[in-house]
Symmetry: C2
């Protein structure tokens, strides 16, 4: 049996699955403090038999360098209770099986790369647009990582000509997350993003910002597929705005696949991350 | 003996070297039409004995996908005589040895990665800032490539608050190349970039744009080293402006090496590209 944890900033999902990545059992609960959350994780997995390996995709930033003392930690998160929390170390106290460790978006990317919309590709970028904006990429089967993991939700963008908003990111103001995340939308419109009508003009603006980011990702990375997940993408018109603005901004400068094939929603839907965790676990055995 | 070609948009450099990558003989000549240029290349290498492999780093865009019909071609370049020119195919007519093929910036990156400022790193990004702006990256020994090669000189940026310039890029206006290349500087100042005084205020602005691009590369790629080459970087104050603005804009959001170690000039100087070509050749034998 394989185990998977999708450790999100809002909720945790735990699941076990078979070697064909079918989810056999799952649970989810809100992200509270580490002690309470960890007790629920352990409660779930302790009731499961014969776990051979685990994969964890965690909200971050996280320590991913095996040689660094903070490997396996959630590091400088704004969630103060989780700051510098040795998540992987705590799990290893309870489980002796191999445990894979990566970001939540890398795990979702892995799911889409192996079993979702990028199964026939050698490279894939996954971006989630919700409470935060984060991305992960896989090239030739490996996560794109260097000195640390990607933080591509924080790239600097130019404002839309009709948008004077200075952004909601405490670090960068009007970076991508500061302009296009759920809280950034709420701050402009005064109501929660999910309560806004699908015809609200903000969605076209969000499409513009995401398109601008996707143009930059495309020119830097040249992935074969871009998958857009997260709550903001469930707004029915956003994807079309992204694709329209993307084509205008890229101006045919580099060859890409047909845009409808290139920029897509996750074909695993909300299971991209948890499935990616099972794949990560499987890679260890 | 190893052979190397640095095929630049302004000039070509051809060299032969030994297996320790010492350059034994070299020549260079202006980039004119393909027939004339090719005759000079062949004239040089035909006089060299026992070439076991070649490495070519070419200006682009170029076709890099082995399966595509345009593999080995210079493709949509503004240099009309070179457009859709089968460079690699022409070389293969004359030389039966293995020939490596990549972009000029990837070749320079390879040189710095193996023998220059990134020898102790697993990842490196090389950016040239001159007539054009282009970049290449290596992660774990492999060029970062997907549907095609990077075109990271064309990422979209926000204008400096004191710079109303709408950019010189025919595709994107005020993208990085449209704002910070030699021609973009000349268009603003009315004189060639190399004739401007080192205290001219434009250099601080160029530092701002390069820093902004480097922040985005950093957040997306997390390379362990960034090497800045090209004519604009030979302006003595630009590097300092880049580093200063970079630190301000990144706002300590992600961990990076000390900035003086992280953003550097090529330690191989003008030999980065031609040395990279020798390494590329060596990898084939």
């Amino acid at each position: 049996m394989l185990a998977s944890i999708e450790a999100g900033g809002t909720k945790f999902v735990c699941a076990v699955g078979d070697h064909q990545f079918n989810i056999i059992d799952r649970t989810s609960f809100p992200t509270t403090c580490p002690e309470e959350t960890m007790a629920k994780i352990i409660g779930f997995f302790d009731a499961c038999e014969d776990i051979q390996a685990m994969g964890i995709g965690s909200f971050g930033p996280i320590g991913i360098n095996h040689q660094a003392p903070n490997y396996g930690y959630i590091t400088s998160t704004p969630k103060t209770k989780w700051r510098n929390y040795n998540f992987l170390g705590e799990m290893k106290k309870h489980y002796q099986c191999p445990i894979g460790w990566t970001t939540d978006v890398n795990a979702a990317c892995l799911g889409e790369y192996h079993l979702g919309s990028a199964t026939d590709k050698n490279s894939c970028l996954y971006l989630t647009v919700g409470t935060g904006v984060g991305g992960g990429a896989i090239f030739n089967g490996r996560f794109l990582e260097g000195f640390g993991h990607a933080e591509m939700g924080h790239i600097l963008l130019r404002n839309h000509s009709k948008d004077p908003f200075q952004g909601s990111c405490p670090y960068h103001g009007n970076c991508l997350e500061g302009l296009a995340s759920g809280p950034a939308i709420e701050k402009r419109c005064g109501v929660k993003a999910e309560e806004l009508d699908k015809n609200h003009p903000i969605w076209e603006m969000i499409g513009y910002y995401l398109a601008q980011a996707l143009v930059n990702y495309t020119l830097i990375l040249r992935p074969e597929k871009i998958v857009l997940g997260g709550g903001v993408m469930s707004q029915s018109k956003v994807l079309e705005f992204v694709k329209k603005e993307f084509s205008l901004m890229l101006a045919d400068y580099v060859e890409i696949p047909a845009v409808d094939e290139y920029i897509v929603l996750p074909s695993l839907g909300n299971n991209a991350g948890i499935t990616g965790g099972l794949i990560l676990a499987h890679q260890l055995i």
